[in-house]
């Protein structure tokens, strides 16, 4: 169990992007679009949430894709094919509410494309027209393009530097689509908090229902600690059990972004220690 059966390096330069296929038959069997796992790499390690980006029920495997932004993801990235992830818990969170809405736009920014993938798959399977907008800083770090093409009726790409697709942000593309008069019944957005906030700002005046999948700091992931709490529609919600998806127009993103910055100093210290190559060997 928890054995890494495949490792793929999507992007080598810091921050690197890597993907694992992990043996976890029970999780693969129960997982539904929108759900995530919590893992811990070493005895001294931290518990971090990662979304299941793909799976193979027959093989009993799930995929996780991550960017090496800090100590834990860097330690994780050092594991190789054949290694085991010490602790892996899931599937966690509520599955995405899937039904036939009509046209669903799935927006993934950066590595957010990976978590949006199973959701796009599920909406497609439910008979929706799926249009995906994938955003990346630059062409080289665009992930999951092929998979998204397979599960979408249409894929649109934006890059910050104009190296591929539209020169601009995912919100520019979305705005253009809406302004062209396209009928959109639902938008799903996953990516950096600031991107999700901007997407919600774009859809709100048009009253296009928008799901945002929130990536707060988590500890247990089971509803026990409240570390993941956010304000949605004026009420406190726990992302790990009430979410991770919420009505984006109700989410207090500013509060959420402040809460994401809680451990900046500690994260920096941990990353520095990690870069000195002492992490992952404990």
């Amino acid at each position: 169990m928890n054995e890494i059966v495949e490792k793929k390096v999507w992007w080598q330069d810091a921050p690197a992007i890597k993907e694992f296929e992990v043996k976890a038959p029970w999780i693969a069997e129960k997982h539904q679009a929108g759900q995530f796992v919590v893992l811990k790499v070493s005895e001294n390690g931290e518990r971090i949430p990662l979304t299941v980006s793909d799976k193979d029920v027959k093989k009993g495997t799930i995929n996780i894709l991550f960017q090496e932004v800090g100590a834990t993801t860097m330690t994780l990235g050092r594991l190789s094919k054949g290694d085991k992830i010490l602790d892996l818990t899931g599937p966690l969170g509520k599955p995405t509410h899937i039904e036939k809405f009509g046209t669903v736009v799935c927006i993934g920014g950066g590595i957010g494309v990976a978590p949006v993938h199973p959701i796009a798959q599920a909406f497609k399977a439910a008979g929706n027209k799926v249009i995906s907008i994938l955003g990346a800083r630059t062409k080289g770090i665009l992930i999951y393009e092929e998979r998204m093409r397979k599960t979408s009726d249409e894929v649109r790409i934006t890059t910050d530097d104009g190296s591929y697709g539209r020169h601009g942000f995912v919100t520019d593309e979305l705005k253009a689509m809406i302004e062209s008069g396209m009928k959109i019944d639902l938008v799903v957005t996953i990516g950096p908090a600031i991107m999700m906030k901007m997407v919600c700002k774009v859809t709100e005046p048009y009253k296009i229902h928008t799901y945002a999948s929130l990536n707060t700091i988590m500890l247990d992931g089971t509803g026990m600690c409240g570390a993941c709490r956010v304000t949605v529609g004026g009420k406190t919600k726990f992302v790990c059990v009430d979410g991770p998806e919420f009505d984006g127009h109700q989410v207090n993103f500013d509060e959420m972004m402040a809460r994401l910055r809680q451990y900046l100093d500690e994260e920096k210290l941990a990353r520095e220690i990690c870069q000195k190559n002492t992490c992952g060997v404990r």
Binding site: L219, M224, G226, E255
Partner: protein, 475 residues
């Protein structure tokens, strides 16, 4: 100078209640080592002699699992400590833990007859002494095991209720698997109660014992997600499921500013520190902030644990803010005293009104209001009522909320046909049988009673084991 009393009754030289050796308060307030050091052989000998071996020992009535207290104390007095351990273990599987964390003054020791004239016999301390002695000097002995029955029991949750239930069922020949959501077993004993009050090595020892006698632990398994209760029975072939998933959902105060940075639930603060060992950051990866001015809201054991943890992380000012008075605080007396000695400041008869923050989203203070005690409420305690216009502000950089927990709804939501009460706790037909409204499903511990005590949860686990065994015989 007090006048010397003229008439002094001739006294039989009595042995006073033996003091518990402990770390110096100033020193221990800065480290995570256990506060109390445990009785020495001499102290325990003396204390054991204080028990007058009542014919009708009231103390037993005060112990939720009815340990034969005079019998074990007699063995201690005779110097047969391992024999004493045997007596205790007939009723209590976790004596090293209960001896440390039971609210003895409200249980066994409250009813001890010696306590009527003098201080009661220190039953808890003796129990701890015996258990610790056994850990060092005793040998692992495989308990008597019944032949395998071929029946399978799944236990959800590895707190005291689940562990106790597993311990009995495995001995009676059933196959037992404990499913635990977290990466470590032990429930509140590992994620809630701090090292300085309950060293984790002690919990580890009890877990090891259960593993040795054949209990299977499946960690990282959140029931309701990876498997539902129904699936455990239908798919995985468990004949019985025992729900011991605790009351782990933190309550917040619902006041403005509660989601500012620096406001934590006690569960989060304690889990970071205890389970994740964040107090050893960066040796351990999980971070925790070392705040200078910290207030904990609440007056229970959880509040005491949180405030003393904050102190140990380096707080200059660590406050308890409680809406009633000192006398009403539900925490163990000993812990309140210890907290006081360590420098915790108590702001009593005070309730929080609003969390104040800065432009970066961090806490800077807490607006509070003074309370006075009015008429008694349902719990028999005098109800605190706000005093008009008595608001004041405490400057703080962190606030830890320890005002209680609720049932985590995950298992209940995914188990159709399971009756719950209006607070979401699982309904059982009586607290002895632990039978729920669903056939083959039993429940016990905090998930039935609401947050209670280790010994009550353990008692429920053992009681459930008895009725589960009976039920399995009918299959």
């Amino acid at each position: 100078m007090a006048e010397e009393k003229k008439e002094k009754k001739p006294k039989i030289p009595k042995i006073p209640r033996q003091p518990m050796p402990e770390q110096d308060p100033h020193e221990r307030a800065r480290n995570f080592n256990e506060v109390t050091c445990g009785f020495t052989g001499e102290l325990s000998d003396n204390e054991a002699l204080r028990c007058i071996q009542c014919k009708k020992p009231l103390c037993i009535d005060g112990c939720p699992v009815s340990i034969n207290i005079p019998a074990f104390i007699k063995k201690v007095a005779e110097g047969d400590i391992l024999g004493a351990a045997k007596v205790i273990k007939e009723s209590n599987l976790l004596p090293a833990i209960c001896g440390r964390v039971c609210p003895q003054e409200d249980q066994c020791e409250m009813l001890c007859v010696v306590g009527k004239k003098d201080k009661p016999v220190a039953i808890g301390r003796l129990e701890r002494y015996v258990a610790d002695y056994e850990a060092v000097h005793g040998k692992f002995e495989m308990p008597e095991m019944s032949p395998k029955t071929g029946k399978k029991v799944a236990i959800v949750g590895s707190g005291p209720a689940g562990l106790a239930c597993a311990g009995d069922l495995i001995k009676w020949g059933h196959t037992v698997t404990i499913f635990e959501a977290l990466h470590k077993a032990g429930g509140v004993l590992v994620y809630g109660i701090p090292e300085f009050r309950l060293p984790k090595a002690i919990v580890e020892r009890e877990l090891d014992y259960l593993k040795k006698i054949g209990v299977e632990f499946r960690l990282d398994h959140v029931i309701g997600r990876i498997r539902t209760v129904d699936e455990l029975m239908q798919k995985d072939g468990y004949n019985v499921v025992f729900l011991a998933n605790g009351a782990g959902l933190p309550q917040f105060m619902n006041i403005p500013g509660e989601n500012l940075n620096g406001v934590y639930s006690a569960n989060e603060f304690l889990t970071r520190s205890n389970l994740m060992k964040a107090y050893k950051f960066p040796e351990y990866d999980t971070p925790i902030k070392r705040f200078k001015n910290v207030a904990v809201i609440g007056g229970g054991n959880t509040a005491m644990d949180a405030v003393r943890t904050a102190l140990r992380l380096g707080a200059d000012n660590a406050y308890i803010i409680y809406r009633r008075s000192m006398a009403e605080m539900p925490a163990r007396k000993e812990e309140i005293e210890h907290a006081g000695h360590e420098g915790v400041k108590f702001i009593m008869l005070t309730a929080p009104v609003r969390v104040i923050g800065n432009e970066k989203g961090w806490v800077t203070g807490l607006e509070c209001i003074k309370m006075q005690l009015g008429e008694p409420d349902d719990s028999g305690r005098r109800r605190p009522v706000p005093i008009k216009e008595s608001e004041f502000v405490v400057n703080l950089d962190a606030i830890i909320v320890a005002i209680g927990t609720n049932a985590n709804p995950l298992v209940a939501q995914t188990t159709p046909g399971l009756d719950l009460n209006k607070w979401g706790y699982i309904v059982v037909d009586d607290e002895k049988t632990c039978r729920t409204s669903k056939k083959g499903i039993f429940a016990g511990g905090d998930i039935v009673t609401g947050a209670a005590t280790v010994i009550l949860a353990m008692g429920a686990g053992r009681s459930a084991a008895k009725y589960i065994d009976e039920y399995l015989k009918t299959l």
